[in-house]
């Protein structure tokens, strides 16, 4: 990530005014960053406050810190534990990510390394399904699930999340696999290497990080999904986002608890997202921006 820094600029050619201006802009960036992130920071701080301190006006910044919010969220106060929803989210996201990879990898191979004819048209078909709003298929899926007894079952979510993420995964992986120089692959084949070896020795090292990032993005999207989960699951298969929404209604409003719950549910995504910042843009812009 070298920005306009690519323009060679040695320190001594910078006038004092330019340096002052640059320092001011740096400070402004800091102020904007902290200010913009403030709601999230506030959420984290509140999650460590006692309920009485969380619900004061004006806010009490210096109140004692406690883990009570987290303890109650995890069932410390005799309430429902969040483990089943968290496990459901984990399972639905994990299995759908695996399924996405299994389907998207061969497809991306056919779209980049050994290209099918009219490959761009196929790419755009994949993309166009992503433009189909979720609500347009919700009712038939609901009726189907109801009639086949698949309601409140995470495997149905796995299928739906797979279809939701497959187009993005195909696009991303296509662009990552296209980065593998065909000449190297051919050289390896001339040397007698067979497909599995080529994939392992040549494709994986080049495209591996991209594939990992793709998996991460699919996982994040599945983890975040609310509408399908809300309509198609209930007591058994409810996911973490659904739990978050019902948590507020069933427990009444306890701000510190709510903040603790939000932090816990967001934590996997935050960690994954920070780790894959650059690839995230590429994935979200469907591979159009590198």
């Amino acid at each position: 990530m070298s920005a306009s820094t690519a323009i060679p600029r040695s320190a001594n050619t910078l006038s004092r005014r330019a340096r002052r201006r640059s320092a001011a802009l740096g400070a402004a960036a800091w102020a904007v960053g902290v200010g913009f992130c403030l709601p999230a920071l506030w959420m984290v701080l509140t999650s460590f406050h006692a309920e009485a301190d969380a619900a004061t006006n004006p806010p009490s910044l210096a109140a004692a810190l406690t883990l009570d919010g987290y303890r109650t969220f995890f069932g410390g106060g005799g309430g429902p534990t969040p483990w089943p929803p968290l496990v459901n989210s984990l399972a639905a996201s994990f299995f759908s990510t695996v399924l996405v990879l299994l389907l998207a990898l061969p497809a991306a191979y056919a779209l980049s390394i050994r290209r099918v004819r009219k490959w761009t048209d196929v790419m755009f078909f994949f993309l166009s399904t992503k433009m189909l709003p979720v609500v347009a298929g919700l009712l038939p899926v609901y009726l189907f699930a109801k009639n086949t007894g698949l309601l409140d079952n995470i495997w149905l979510l796995v299928l739906l999340y797979t279809s939701m993420n497959l187009p993005i995964a195909v696009w991303m992986m296509q662009s990552f696999l296209a980065d593998v120089p065909v000449s190297i692959i051919e050289a390896a084949q001339v040397d007698g290497a067979r497909l599995p070896t080529v994939l392992r020795r040549v494709v994986a090292p080049v495209a591996g990080p991209g594939i990992a990032a793709t998996a991460l993005i699919c996982f994040i999207f599945s983890w975040n999904e609310l509408l399908f989960a809300r309509v198609l699951t209930g007591v058994v298969a409810g996911t973490a986002p659904v739990h978050l929404t019902t948590f507020v209604t069933s427990q009444g409003l306890f701000l510190a608890q709510l903040c603790a719950a939000s932090v816990v549910v967001s934590l996997p995504v935050l960690v994954a997202g920070y780790a894959a910042q650059d690839k995230l843009v590429q994935g979200l812009s469907l591979g159009a921006v590198k």
Binding site: A3, S4, A6, I7, P8, L25, W30, V32, A40, W42, T46, T56, N57, P58, P59, L103, A104, P106, A110, V116, R117, W119, T120, F124, F125, F126, L127, T129, K130, M131, L132, P133, V135, A136, G137, L138, L139, P140, F144, L160, T162, S163, L226, L227, A240, P241, L244, T245, L258, S262, S266, V269, L270, Y274, Q282, L284, S285, L286, A288, K290
Partner: protein
């Protein structure tokens, strides 16, 4: 749904194929890896949409299943004449347009700030993308309860605090979500989507050719001129991409509307209305018709989106 914006995309030259007797078998061998993904996607996304189309032609309330009958396009007439539904069409447009516009402008400003070296740049960047990484429901809950709450939310708390600071007795304590419901949702969504725009525009800024920027500087172009005549034209593609992808996602927003106002006070957008119509009101036919309207709207946006993406993509393909 198949958007055919690809018509004008000339297929880039296919890699040279060796002519051979087993050409047909070979073509299938290349095609085979593609099929599982294609078949899966058609089955899981296109079939339900066809079913939605069919259901939208029926008068069907699931509480009175015996009265189900074919009614033609009358559900569509209801979508456009029913005041609540028509309002939700307007709400969707307003919500999408305003959120996309504001987040693009903010995102551009943030990207410009980050496009220079300064102490702790990586950390500030991390701070700025955090809102985008929060689970959408928890972000919506955060805004509703921790920020907007009239009694102990951060906003009113800050107002009180400032009041105390300047010795003002009773500071106004607005009820954000009931006094300005749509703006409340928009603010939360702008907060979540600005980082997305920033990331795309930052990628655009960093792909500016350094030599040209340097040449402009040597020719005496000031920062504003450089921005106006070099940076902005270069960013056009990225701006379009951000706007269009943002629109496609925000048109479909459900989480924020559901969480912050539950669609009350004129904030119900189409996705929320479809959800309500079928999940609570059990009007299957009507909900399906509304769903189809959402799709048509999205297709219009998507056609433009695909055109933009395809132009970027063509550059990519020609570079390869």
């Amino acid at each position: 749904m198949t958007v055919t914006a690809t018509r004008e995309t000339p297929a880039p030259p296919a890699p040279a194929r060796k002519p051979g007797g087993s050409g047909r078998r070979r073509a299938w061998a290349t095609r085979a890896p593609l099929l599982p993904a294609l078949v899966f996607l058609i089955a899981v996304t296109q079939l339900p949409f066809v079913a939605t189309l069919v259901i939208s032609l029926f008068d069907w309330n699931s509480l009175k299943p015996e009265k189900r009958h074919f009614t033609g396009l009358s559900n569509y007439a209801s979508v456009f004449t029913d005041e609540a539904l028509r309002e939700s069409v307007v709400t969707t447009v307003v919500l999408t347009a305003s959120v996309v516009l504001v987040s693009v402008i903010l995102g551009l400003a943030f990207a410009l700030l980050l496009d220079r070296t300064f102490f702790g740049r990586g950390f500030v960047r991390t701070l700025l993308i955090t809102p985008f990484l929060l689970v959408p429901v928890s972000a919506a809950l955060l805004w509703k309860h921790a920020l907007y709450n009239p009694e102990y939310g951060l906003f009113n708390g800050a107002l009180t605090w400032f009041g105390d600071l300047f010795g003002i007795e009773s500071v106004a304590q607005p009820e954000w979500t009931s006094q300005m419901p749509l703006i409340a949702i928009e603010a939360a969504l702008v907060w979540q989507w600005t980082p997305f725009m920033m990331l795309i525009l930052l990628a655009g800024l960093q792909s500016r050719p350094a030599e040209i920027m340097e040449a402009a500087r040597l020719d005496g172009a000031g920062p504003w001129q450089t921005f106006r005549y070099l940076t902005l034209p270069h960013l056009r593609r990225y701006l379009e991409l951000g706007i269009l992808l943002g629109s496609v996602y925000i048109v479909q927003n459900f989480d924020a509307v559901f969480t912050i106002t539950s669609g009350g006070l004129g904030t119900a957008n189409l996705p929320y209305t479809v959800y309500e119509t079928f999940y609570r009101a059990h009007e299957y036919g009507l909900a399906s018709a509304a769903g189809v309207v959402v799709v048509v709207g999205t297709i219009i946006i998507a056609t433009f989106a695909l055109r933009v993406v395809s132009s970027l993509f063509r550059e990519e393909a020609s570079r390869a």
